[in-house]
Every structure is written in structure tokens, then in C-alpha cells.
Symmetry: C2
Subunit: 106 residues, 2 copies
DNA sequence: TTGACAGGTGACCTATTAGTCACATAACTT
DNA sequence: AAGTTATGTGACTAATAGGTCACCTGTCAA
């Protein structure tokens, strides 16, 4: 399994994306804290976090008996750079900003 | 199935990512042209293109009996914006540029 | 040191998915 | 009209992934 394969497989599951959302909002959470936010057993959450960690989307640090989880944005940025060149990036950003503006006005 | 679910599921397969790579290099290709680049039957490729189209990653236009395929970068940019804020984006871009520079020197 | 707390492992069942095939439709060419 | 080219559909099989459970290791506190 290649590196980017691991990243995309990891992102394919909605529970794992939700975990990334939680860590994007606030870093450094423990398994137990993350578990309480999902309707799933601790084992399920641990399994998902392991997949995210092996993909490099989450990095961890041990502190005593706790394991702290942090979001790593590098793989996300690499996905972006794979299919969006500098020229298109500017156009697309403008387009999305315009979309947001129109949605707020309606 | 939600919209973003379709996008991430679509990106989870290496053949589909390769199809996006082909379209990123050059847009407006037909099924038959794309098929010749993969070690897979036409049916398999057609199925993958359908998944990409339903996810909005590929948009199509008919021209006679041919169906032309184009890459749509919008969903990719939205993945980026979901987990990378403006502040982090600048840091991470600098970091990745530095990484490329170091790799070229070695 | 005893109990409670935080996390890890391997097996198991179920549901989903990738890829192929036989068959069908539609458009271009001569 | 007839043959060729480009694409679409539904069923089928084998492989993979999500979630749970019983059980285990390591850390903290009194």
C-alpha cells in the first residue's frame, strides 16, 4: 500500500473525517475524549485513529498514560497540489468566495 | 449518501485517482482514450468515470456519440478548505516548498 | 499494593465494493 | 440499410473494510 493510498483510504470513512473535524476545532485530545463525541465503542474509535495515524493525517504524543492526538495538514495540502495548479487555484478561490457571497445574500 | 461522502469514496480508489491525473494533464478525453491508458476493461473504466462524475470531480459534455470528460477542481479545493485555515495554509505552503528545495539539492 | 483509569490486540461477522461479462442502445460511415 | 464505433445496464463473484467483543498491558492515586 502506497502512502497516498493510505491517506485517501483513511479519508473515505465519515467517522474518520468527523474525527479530523474535531481535531481541527481543537488539537491534543485523548482517545477517551474523542470517543465521547462518537456513537461508537472505544475500540471502533481507536481503530479509526490508528488508520488516520498510519496515513500521517494525525500525529500523536504520549503524556503519561494518555495519548494526545494532533491534526497534520500536510497530506491534505498535497492532495490539493496534485490536481490544482497555481493558476487554477486563484480562479477557483475567487469562484468559491463568490459562491459564499451569493449564498449569504439569499 | 452525502455529497462529500461521494467525493471521498470516489477518491479512495487508485484507478480513479489515476484517471484524474490523466485529465489534469489534459482535459476533454473520451472513454475510449482513457481506457487505453489503464490495464482494465472498458466496463471497469466506465464504472469509475461514473463514480467520479456523480461525485462532481469530473464533468462531461456530449459531442455526437462521444462523451468528453473534464476535471472539476472545486471539490478538491473544498477538501483543502475544510481542514486548512488561511493562517495554516501559508505556513504549510512554505514548509512544502522548503521540502522540495531540499530534495532537489540532495 | 490494590483498585481504577487509559489504552492496545486478535478474532469474528456483516456489508460494501472492484472488476468482469453478456447484452443493449445510439451515432457515424459508406 | 448495414456494419462499425462509442457508450450504457444489470447481474455475478471475490476481496476488503467497519464495528464489536473478550482479553491484556501499562499508569496513576490512595
Amino acid at each position: 500500500m502506497t502512502d497516498d493510498d493510505r491517506v485517501f483510504k483513511a479519508l473515505a470513512d465519515p467517522s474518520r473525517r468527523f474525527l479530523l473535524d474535531l481535531l481541527f476545532a481543537r488539537d491534543g485530545r485523548t482517545l477517551t475524549e474523542l470517543e465521547s463525541a462518537l456513537a461508537m465503542t472505544r475500540f471502533g474509535v481507536a481503530k479509526h485513529l490508528r488508520v488516520l495515524e498510519e496515513a500521517g493525517l494525525v500525529v500523536t504524543r504520549r503524556s503519561g498514560r494518555e495519548k494526545l492526538h494532533f491534526l497534520n495538514p500536510v497530506p491534505i495540502r498535497q492532495i490539493h497540489d496534485r490536481w490544482i495548479d497555481k493558476y487554477t487555484e486563484h480562479q477557483i478561490t475567487t469562484l468559491i468566495d463568490l459562491k459564499h457571497t451569493l449564498e449569504e445574500e439569499s
